[in-house]
Structure formats: structure tokens, C-alpha cells
């Protein structure tokens, strides 16, 4: 019997079935999306032995540290690795990447103790020390290939240190892997490079030369039994943190002493050596100086002697001269007496006796002559003796002169040596001082405990999944309710329509139970069938669609769906019980009447005047057909309400769908087109680039490339939000406060008015202000990355959608540097080219293109669009079914009326209009009611979907209302078209039938 009835009104059965299927399927599918996504991720994390903590030691981790960690009962497994964030270059395409290089023992990758096991997606694992495998966080947009080569970039601040830790600087990519370490397409945060690591580079353990590990991946005891999305897991992670922290303190002080001690020892040793060498050199120099002095003295005394001898010789020489003078005088005297003496001598020879006197004269003369000759000889010898002595003296003097020259050479050599020694001492001392400084600078070791839970990838995924569940709670429940409501009306209507049949059966002697059974089984078949079909499709379909939308953003395995009995039973029971219940009530009410009554046509519900008629002038102005429409609208109150609720519900869902798209799509445009006007942000290694960096200055001065720029201070500060949680915020303090608003528009979102910015301003973005609970005029304390705290008085709150910003004027915070630039491109300049030019400067450490950030963000937002599309499609399907169903009921109920007016000679068009005017009007009223419901639903959804760092737009743009209304109208027209056939097919013979 049921079978026949189903066939009898197949379209009605199908419409009940499909509406139940849609409601149940949509609800089941969306509700199970969250658990399915969580389960898939959990399964992946457990099977890949994902870490719970990544312990980083600032001075590395020793074998002793590792042993101590594994000794903790809270720790299940430990895997020490060498890990380093760095910049690498691909020479082939001239790209630079910030990567996280980790050295693994690949041989052990399948052992139980291996943490963060990987899936090989492509290629093979490294076999040589200069080979690596890549993990690409954003696999959809990446163009990395097997065979490409990555070279550690000299641009990296720590190039030397890094280079020293690896055997090779160039690594060839031989495989692509997936690990639990990178699951977000947005990578992980780092202090290296541009601040986010998008690539994992994994090399063999043997490729690393470092003596200590940098990190230890740890799994916690009992963690693998918990879902990482559960609070129990969070509790375990935070309770074990204290234990690890304590151990960290203990081990760190050991490590600090060890490292600092060793470094001090080294310095001390060098100093000792230096001191010894210095002493040696000094004494050698002193010896040399002494010798030179002694030589000098000796020479001086020799010279003195020569001088004395010279003086004596001079004296002798002058006495010889005096003697010679005497001899010359004697000579003259003798010469004068010679002639007389000669006469005398002749006389004597003639024999003449000479007088005594004469003899005496001759004798005197002769003795004088002898005396003269003797004197002359003596003088000659004295003279030769003196000249010999002079010669000797000259020789001695020459010897002294040459010694002196020698000594001077020695002295200059000595001086040189001394200067050199002094310089080298100064150098060595400076080196020593530096080394000591270096040692003094070594900070005490510290352990950082980075939990898996707080990694960018997992925490984002967790919050995204939560968003899905928030959406899943609101939408489908609403949807489900509308579906149930419509199914109920249809069922009730079926029974009302078949009262005659019921009466006949009753009068034929069928028991009430039997008749009841018939309708109940019809309702059961429709609702159970709908539930089965809906859930059979919904459980696998929706989580897959939504899960896949998210795999665009997360590098995780495809979502595995499952038929969740818990949900299925609840949804099925609610659906079936509510439909069977209503059917039972409707049936029981009908069956209570006597068969005779049932066989008579049901007393037509009396026509009534409606409120509108009381407003005479208005009523009179309406055309006749409009009057009829109005009267009819209010006559069938139940149907009226049902249709309005149905249409309003669908319309609200559509508005919400489009509105969510607006809210999200909006922020990309608003943030990067309306608020941020710069095209690049640049970080320069130091402040004084203007004078020193010609390349950069040239680029910035090139009017073909750069329109304008501004320098600013940038830092990541943190503060506490109202819940006491740490909240990060970007601090920006421009050098030129006045020009700043050309680069970033500061305005109030609600009023659209600009927020003033000057030397005394401190402007914070809206969402951050809300999180902190700060209003204009409030004082808020921020801790800068240098651990310095500043307290600022908020002077304004600005519209902002992505990330958090605190803009500070000069007087509020005097920045230590302004080594960041915001750059506006010249009109018509090529983005890539400008970027390349900027990066040409060696002082530029990174350049971020707004265009790039914008498109990245737009991509990530796209996944939400998928959900929106799913919503819109489902809301559309619901709208069509609701309208179809209600119109169908409307037409079935009024078949006779329609047949009658056909007989009266109404054209088909007029007959259709007679009905459709009502439906269209109901749809219109539904749309009107749907607007506030939609706005409310949209607001609710946006609130639940929003994440901390992003503020979604709150507005629904007017085209969305148009789209939603347009679609609703389209659905209505579509239903009208289907129904037009049905109306056309109404047989006028119907009018002859008795019941009304």
C-alpha cells in the first residue's frame, strides 16, 4: 500500500526525501568535517612520530644534555639534531630563500626512535653529504625541482659560522619530503632572513661538522594517546614544560660554565704566551740599546785623545818653527860676517898672523856655522816626526768615523725593531682584549622550549579547524531546522489531502492502527531514506571538500572521511522522530473524526477580512487581483509562515555566504590598497646607509623606479591581552612623522575620518586595541624585543585588518635606529625590477613586496571561499526545494480553485499569475525578513571565524544583497517555470469534483 502511495505522488515523496537528505547530509557533513580533519591530522602526527617539544639550547646541546633529557620520565623519546635557519641561494634562478637546514640520521628514519618521520613525495633520500631533500611548505606555488642546487648565501649574517659547521656549502636537491615539522603553507617564524622559513632542507648527519647539537626533538610520555587538538594534550604539554624548564636551568648553567670556562682558558693561554714573548723581545731590545750606547762612549773618548795629540803636535810644530826662525836669524848674521871672515881666512892662509881679535872672529864664525847646520838637521827631523804623527792621527780619526756610521745604522735598526715590537704588542693586546670581551659577552646558556602546539603550522591549523567547527555549528543547524520544518508541513499536508482516503479505509473496516501504520511507514520511509541518502553522501562529501580547501594552506595528507555513528544516530533520530511525531499527531487528529465526516469534504476554512481592508483608502486603490492575492496570503497562515521562514532562511544563508566572502575578500583590498600605500618594505643592515651605500642611494634616487620612501624603526613588541595572554604587535616609529601618513593611511573604521599622526602620537590598530582592551587616552605597557619596556598613551585607534601595529611618534619613543624603509614605486615601474635593484645593495638584508604579501594572503583566504561556495550551493538547493515544496503544496491544495478559474476562462498565463503573485510576494516578504536574519548570521559567523591576527570586514556590500536577492528571485522563477507546467496540466474536470 505504501508503495502505491509513493508512486501516487512520487514528486512529493521525492521532495520530502530530498529535503530531508539535504538537511541531514549538510548537517552531518559539516559537523563531521572538524573531527575528520582532526583525526586525519592526529593519525598523521602519531604515525610520523611528530615532536611535542623542540628544545633549543642557545649554546648547543651536549651528549650530556641529551642523556639528561632522555632520563626524564616525562620524556618518551629524544632525537638530537643540528638545525639552523639560514639564507640560501639558488644561483640558477638567482632566488634567495630562508630555509631551516637540519642534519638527520637518515639511516634511522624508519626506527621507532626517529622523531618527525618523513614521507618521500618525490625523488630519493640523500646518499651523499652534498645532497639534500626539501620540504616545501607551500607546495602549490613552489617551483622547486629535483636537481636544483642550493648554496649557503654569503648574505647571511652568520655565514662564517654556518659555513664552518657544514662540510659543503652547496647542496643538490634529490628529493621532496613531507614531515610534521612544516605543515603550514606560510612556513614557520625565524629570526633569519625575511622572518619566515618556507623551506626545510634536510641533509645527512655526516654533512654537519658541528661539535654539539642545536636542538633536541622530544616526544612526551603519553602524548601519543591524546589528540593534539584536545585540552588534555595542552595540559600535558604545559605541565611537562615546568619539568623541562627546570632541567634546562640546571643543564644550562653547566653548559655556560663549560663554554665560558673553556673560552676563558683559551684566552688566558694566549695571554700568557703573549706576555712571555713580550718579555723576551723587550730584553733583547734593551741589550741592543746598551751596546749602542757603549760603542758611542768609546768612540767619543778615542776622539778626545786624538784631539789632545793634535794639540801637542801643533805645539811641537810651532816650537820647531820658532827654532827655525832663530836659525834663520843666525844664518842672516853669519851671512853678514862671511866676507870679513873670508878675508881673515885668506890673510891667515898667507900666513899673516891674525890678531887675537881676528882669530876669535873666525872661530866664532865657524862655530856659528856648525851650530846652524846642526840646528837645521834637528829641525828637519822634528818636522818629519811631526808629520808622521799627523798621519797617524788622521788614520785614527777615519777609523772612528766609520765606527760611528756603523753605530748609527745599528741604532736605526734598533729603533725600527722597537717600533715594530711596540705595534705588535698593541695589536696582540687588542686581540686579547677583544677575545676577553668575546668571552665576557658569552651569554649564559638558555633552553628554549618550542612546543609543537605553538608552532605556526599546527596552531594555525588548529584554529582553522575550530573555525570550520564554528561555521558547522551555525549554518547546518539553521539549515536542518528549515529542512525539518518544510518536511513537516509537507507531511501534514499529505494527510489532510488524503482524509477522504482515510475515511474510506476506516469505513471499510481498517483499524486505526493499520491506517496509522500506513502513514507512519510512509513518513518513516521518506525520513529514514532521506537520512540514509543524505548522510551517506554528506559524511564523505563535505569533509572532503572542506578538507581539500585547507590542503591548499597546509601540507597534510588528504582528509580521510568516516561515517560517524554518533552524529548519524543523533541527526537521524531528531529527523525521524520529529517527522514521525508530526505525522502521528496529524494522523491521530484525522482519525479521531468519524468516517462519515471524513468522507464529506473538509469544511473549507472560512474566508476572512484581513487587516489591510480596514485601511479603506489603501485597499480600494488595490486592483482586484491584488486584493485577491492579499486575501489569500493571509488566509493560509501556516503556509504563509512556512514559506516566509523558508525563504528568509535561505536568503539569510545566501547573504551570509556572500557576506563572508565580502568580509574576507574585502580585507585584502582594504589592507593593501586603501591602508598600505607602500610597495616594499626594506631592511638595511645599518642606519648610516645613506652616506655609505651608493647602490641603495642610487636606486632610491632613481625617479624611474622609486617615487618616494621613508625610513622607520621596526620592532616586535609584546603585551598582555585582556585574557592575560601574550600578544605580539609590530612597533613602527617613522623618522619623518609628517610624511608617514603618505605611506600608511590611519583612519577610523567607523567614521572613516583620518587619525592624526605626529611627534606625540601613539596609534594602535583596532583589533589590537580591542584585544588589549585599550581605548584612546589609555596608557599601555609594551615590552620591546630588547626587553625594554615602554608605556605609551594611546592617541588614536586605526583601521587595520592584517597583523597588529603600534605606530609611535618621535617624542613618544626615540628609536635607536631607522633602518627600515617603506618604498613607493614610481608609476609604471616593474615590481620585480625594483625589488631586484633594491636587493642589489649589500646592505639590504631583505625586501618584502606588498604585492607578494597581498597575493599570498589572498590565496590563503581563498580556502574560506570554498566553504562559502559550499554554503551558497547548499542554500540555493534548499531554497529551490523549499519553494518547490511550498508551491507544490499551494497548488495541490487549490487544484479545484485553479480548475474553476480555468473553466471561467482565465488564460494559462493568468492562472499562473494568480498563484505566482502570491508566491512572489511571499518570496519578497521572505527576502525582507531574511535581511536582518542574514545580517545577524553573518555577524555571528564572522565573529566565530576571525582569528587573532586578522580582522575581517564587518560589512556586507550591497551587491551581495543583490546577488542573494537575485538568486532567490532566480530560484523563484525557476520554481515558477516548473510549476507553470503543473498548472497547465491541471484538468478542468477537477472542478467537477466535490471536495474543496
Amino acid at each position: 500500500m505504501t508503495r502505491r502511495s509513493i508512486r501516487g505522488s512520487l514528486s512529493r515523496f521525492l521532495s520530502i526525501l530530498s529535503i530531508i537528505a539535504l538537511g541531514a547530509g549538510f548537517l552531518a557533513g559539516l559537523i563531521s568535517s572538524t573531527p575528520d580533519m582532526q583525526k586525519t591530522a592526529d593519525k598523521y602526527f602519531v604515525s610520523h612520530n611528530a615532536y611535542d617539544y623542540d628544545i633549543t639550547g642557545t649554546l648547543g646541546l651536549t651528549a650530556g644534555d641529551i642523556k639528561a633529557i632522555s632520563g626524564l620520565s616525562e620524556v618518551d623519546k629524544v632525537m638530537p639534531v643540528y638545525k639552523r635557519d639560514m639564507t640560501v641561494e639558488n644561483y640558477a634562478d638567482k632566488e634567495k630563500y630562508t630555509v631551516r637546514m637540519t642534519a638527520f640520521d637518515f639511516a634511522a628514519r624508519n626506527s621507532d626512535d626517529f622523531i618527525n618521520r618523513s614521507d618521500l613525495l618525490k625523488g630519493r633520500y640523500p646518499e651523499k653529504d652534498n645532497e639534500c631533500v626539501l620540504e616545501i611548505s607551500n607546495i602549490y606555488t613552489s617551483n622547486h625541482k629535483l636537481g636544483e642546487e642550493l648554496t649557503i648565501s654569503k648574505d647571511d649574517r652568520d655565514y662564517d659560522e654556518i659555513r664552518g659547521d657544514f662540510k659543503y656549502k652547496k647542496f643538490r636537491v634529490v628529493g621532496i619530503v613531507r614531515t610534521p615539522m612544516f605543515i603550514s603553507a606560510h612556513g614557520e617564524v625565524t629570526t633569519a632572513g625575511d622572518g619566515s622559513v618556507m623551506l626545510g632542507v634536510y641533509v645527512r648527519k655526516q654533512a654537519c661538522k658541528a661539535s654539539v647539537y642545536t636542538d633536541a626533538y622530544v616526544t612526551l610520555t603519553g602524548a601519543d594517546k591524546l589528540s593534539r587538538f584536545s585540552d588534555d594534550y595542552s595540559d600535558l604539554v604545559s605541565s611537562d614544560k615546568t619539568v623541562l624548564k627546570d632541567l634546562g636551568r640546571e643543564r644550562s648553567s653547566i653548559r655556560s660554565r663549560e663554554v665560558i670556562g673553556r673560552a676563558q682558558q683559551k684566552v688566558d693561554k694566549v695571554e700568557k704566551k703573549y706576555q712571555k714573548k713580550k718579555a723576551e723581545t723587550s730584553s733583547q731590545l734593551a741589550d741592543a740599546a746598551y751596546k749602542i750606547n757603549a760603542g758611542k762612549q768609546k768612540l767619543n773618548s778615542s776622539e778626545d785623545k786624538i784631539k789632545a795629540s793634535e794639540a801637542a803636535l801643533k805645539e811641537q810644530s810651532s816650537s820647531v818653527d820658532a827654532k827655525e826662525d832663530q836659525l834663520d836669524a843666525l844664518d842672516k848674521k853669519l851671512a853678514a860676517g862671511q866676507a870679513y871672515v873670508d878675508q881673515l881666512k885668506q890673510l891667515r892662509d898667507s900666513g899673516a898672523a891674525l890678531t887675537e881679535e881676528q882669530t876669535a872672529a873666525v872661530e866664532a864664525y865657524d862655530s856659528g856655522m856648525a851650530q846652524l847646520s846642526a840646528g837645521r838637521t834637528a829641525i828637519a827631523s822634528a818636522r818629519s816626526r811631526i808629520s808622521a804623527a799627523y798621519k797617524k792621527l788622521a788614520k785614527a780619526q777615519a777609523a772612528i768615523d766609520s765606527s760611528r756610521a756603523e753605530l748609527a745604522a745599528q741604532e736605526s735598526k734598533y729603533l725600527q725593531a722597537r717600533a715594530k715590537a711596540e705595534k705588535s704588542f698593541a695589536g696582540a693586546e687588542k686581540k686579547l682584549r677583544d677575545a676577553q670581551d668575546e668571552v665576557d659577552k658569552i651569554k649564559n646558556a638558555k633552553w628554549y622550549l618550542n612546543s609543537f602546539e605553538d608552532s605556526v603550522g599546527f596552531s594555525n591549523y588548529k584554529s582553522d579547524v575550530d573555525k570550520v567547527s564554528a561555521v558547522a555549528k551555525v549554518f547546518p543547524v539553521f539549515f536542518f531546522l528549515v529542512a525539518v520544518l518544510v518536511a513537516l508541513t509537507t507531511m501534514t499536508r499529505l494527510i489532510d489531502e488524503e482524509r477522504e482516503l482515510i475515511g474510506t479505509l476506516k469505513s471499510l473496516g481498517y483499524s486505526r492502527r493499520k491506517i496509522m501504520q500506513y502513514y507512519m511507514s510512509y513518513a518513516l520511509e521518506a525520513s529514514a531514506g532521506g537520512c540514509v541518502i543524505g548522510m551517506a553522501l554528506g559524511f564523505p562529501l563535505f569533509p572532503k571538500i572542506i578538507g581539500n580547501a585547507y590542503t591548499m594552506m597546509y601540507d597534510l595528507p588528504a582528509t580521510e572521511t568516516e561515517f560517524i555513528w554518533k552524529y548519524a544516530v543523533v541527526i537521524g533520530l531528531v529527523m525521524i522522530i520529529s517527522i514521525l511525531g508530526t505525522t502521528y499527531l496529524a494522523c491521530a487528529r484525522t482519525l479521531r473524526e468519524r468516517p462519515a465526516m471524513l468522507l464529506l469534504p473538509e469544511a473549507p476554512s472560512p474566508g476572512k477580512r484581513i487587516l489591510l481592508e480596514r485601511i479603506g483608502p489603501l485597499w480600494r486603490r488595490l486592483s482586484f487581483t491584488r486584493k485577491v492575492t492579499c486575501r489569500n496570503l493571509f488566509r493560509y497562515k501556516k503556509r504563509f509562515l512556512m514559506t516566509i521562514i523558508g525563504v528568509a532562511g535561505c536568503f539569510a544563508l545566501l547573504i551570509t555566504g556572500f557576506g563572508v566572502r565580502d568580509s574576507i575578500g574585502d580585507i585584502v583590498h582594504k589592507q593593501y590598497d586603501e591602508l598600505f600605500h607602500y610597495d616594499f618594505t626594506v631592511e638595511v643592515t645599518n642606519d648610516k646607509w645613506t652616506a655609505k651605500d651608493k647602490t641603495l642611494a642610487d636606486t632610491l634616487g632613481n625617479k624611474d623606479l622609486v617615487k618616494s620612501y621613508i625610513s622607520y624603526f621596526s620592532d616586535k613588541a609584546h603585551t598582555e591581552d585582556t585574557k592575560g595572554k601574550d600578544m605580539d604587535i609590530n612597533v613602527i616609529s617613522p623618522q619623518n612623522d609628517a610624511a608617514f601618513t603618505d605611506f600608511v593611511t590611519l583612519r577610523s573604521r567607523s567614521t572613516g575620518k583620518n587619525v592624526p599622526f605626529g611627534r606625540n602620537s601613539a596609534v594602535i590598530n583596532e583589533k589590537a586595541a580591542e584585544s588589549i582592551g585599550a581605548k584612546t587616552g589609555d596608557k599601555v605597557k609594551f615590552t620591546l624585543s630588547s626587553d625594554k619596556s615602554i608605556t605609551v598613551k594611546i592617541t588614536g585607534i586605526t583601521e587595520n585588518y592584517v597583523a597588529s601595529y603600534l605606530y609611535l611618534g618621535d617624542n613618544v619613543y626615540s628609536a635607536p635606529n631607522h633602518r627600515h624603509l617603506m618604498v613607493k614605486m614610481a608609476k609604471g615601474a616593474d615590481n620585480d625590477k625594483v625589488m631586484e635593484k633594491l636587493l642589489d645593495s649589500s646592505r639590504v638584508s631583505y625586501v618584502v613586496s606588498t604585492e607578494y604579501v597581498k597575493s599570498n594572503f589572498a590565496d590563503s583566504v581563498k580556502s574560506i571561499n570554498y566553504i562559502v561556495i559550499v554554503l551558497i550551493v547548499c542554500a540555493g538547493a534548499l531554497a529551490v526545494i523549499v519553494l518547490y515544496n511550498l508551491t507544490n503544496v499551494n497548488i495541490c491544495e487549490r487544484k479545484k480553485e485553479l480548475a474553476t478559474i480555468k473553466v471561467l476562462g482565465f488564460f494559462d498565463r493568468e492562472v499562473s499569475a494568480y498563484i505566482f503573485r502570491e508566491i512572489n510576494m511571499l518570496a519578497g516578504i521572505g527576502i525582507l525578513f531574511g535581511v536582518p536574519v542574514g545580517i545577524w548570521l553573518h555577524k555571528f559567523v564572522i565573529r566565530t571565524v576571525e582569528v587573532n591576527s586578522v580582522m575581517f570586514g564587518q560589512n556586507i556590500e550591497w551587491p551581495s544583497y543583490l546577488y542573494a536577492a537575485g538568486l532567490t528571485v532566480l530560484f523563484t522563477i525557476f520554481v515558477n517555470l516548473i510549476m507553470r507546467r503543473k498548472i497547465k496540466d491541471i484538468d478542468m474536470v477537477e472542478s467537477m469534483k466535490a471536495n474543496d
Binding site: 473549507p604 486575501r631 480553485e897 471561467l904 469534483k993 466535490a994
Partner: protein, 234 residues
Amino acid sequence: MAGYIEFQNVSKFYKMGGQRISALDDMNFEIAKGEFCVIVGPSGAGKTTLLNILGGMDRCDEGRVYLDGREIGGLDTRGLTEYRRYDVGFVFQFYNLVQNLTALENVELASEICRDPLDCRAVLREVGLEDRMDNFPAQLSGGEQQRVAIARALAKNPKVLLCDEPTGALDYSTGKTILQLLHDTCRRFGKTVIVITHNQAIVPMADKVISVKNGKAVRVEINNDPEPIERIEW
């Protein structure tokens, strides 16, 4: 006077499970303008089929049907609708009033679509419902509802008034007054009125009686001296 309405060799077949049933089998008759014509016959004889065809709700399979010299069988769907709209007034066994409209509005519903309708209020006054115009059908008795139906048919100012068992759902005396009203209408407005009934008793009041049996007009009687309704008892 003959031939205002004419059935010439009209046949209508229904196929039921491979079997062909002739609801009308080579039927012939004619009705003059202004006549009060009663069609009688047992249940299943083909009366309703006849009326449906004459009323433009259905087409015959063979033969011709004329009204006022126009062949109805040749009309397409739209033509038939126009024909119903302008030329025919229909009175149903179960009144078929729109429940949600007042008596007056029910009449207006029909007059709204015609070329030269009669004044609705006047017609209602004519059928004796002067005081009930603003009542809804549910507030009226069966007879009153049928009066509204007649007024509705009349207001269209049709060429012919077709009534299918108009008294079928009414008690004896009310039925009588309705017949009286139809008869009066015929006389006063000069309309051709065709009343279908299986009640042989009312035959004497007709100008013409067509007896139908097995789809054939077995007898056409012209009653030159119809009896007034009040004298007829059944």
C-alpha cells in the same frame, strides 16, 4: 430559431487499458437561442462529456459542434479559453466559489476578464442576494452559494449558460428555487440555458429535453408548453 447550438455526429472516446469507450457516440441535436434546455440521462450516459465539449473544456474526437454559427471543435487551446471566457457561463454542482472571496468578489472575479460584463451588484441583486454581497461563501447556505455561482456565470454576459447538476448538492426546495432562478434567467435575459440532470422530474419545465443514453441523444422533445416549476414535484 434552430441551430444556435448544434451537435453534428459528435463522438468522444476514452481509452482505458487498451479498451475504447465511447462516451459520446455519433451524437446529434440542436438547441435554439434562448431555449431552456434540459439534458437528462442515467449516470454514465455521457451528459458531462457533452457539456465539457460544449463548454470548451474538452474536444470531441469526431463530428462538429457549433455555437452561434462558430465551430468550436476547430479552436486551439487559446481559442477554447477565449470561448470559455466570452461565450460560456458555467454553473457547477458544487458551486465552486473561491472561499476566500466575498460573494461580490466571486462575481467580480469572472466579470473582471470579460469584454462587456453586467454590473456585478445588479446581477447579485437579481439573484436575490442584495444583502449578502459582502459575505464569504462559508457564511452562505448551499442555495445562496449556488445563486452566487449563477450570478458569477451571468455577470460574464455569456451566450450560453451551462449547468451541470446544479441542484445535485441541494435539498429539494432549494433546488427548486435554483431551477426557478435559472428558468427566470433564461426568460429575462434571453439566455440559452442548458441544464444537465439525471432527475427526470424536472423535464416538464424545459423548452427542449434531450435524453441521452450510452452516448447518444436518444430522444429530443420539444415542449411547447413548459410547466412552471412550482407545479412540479419530485
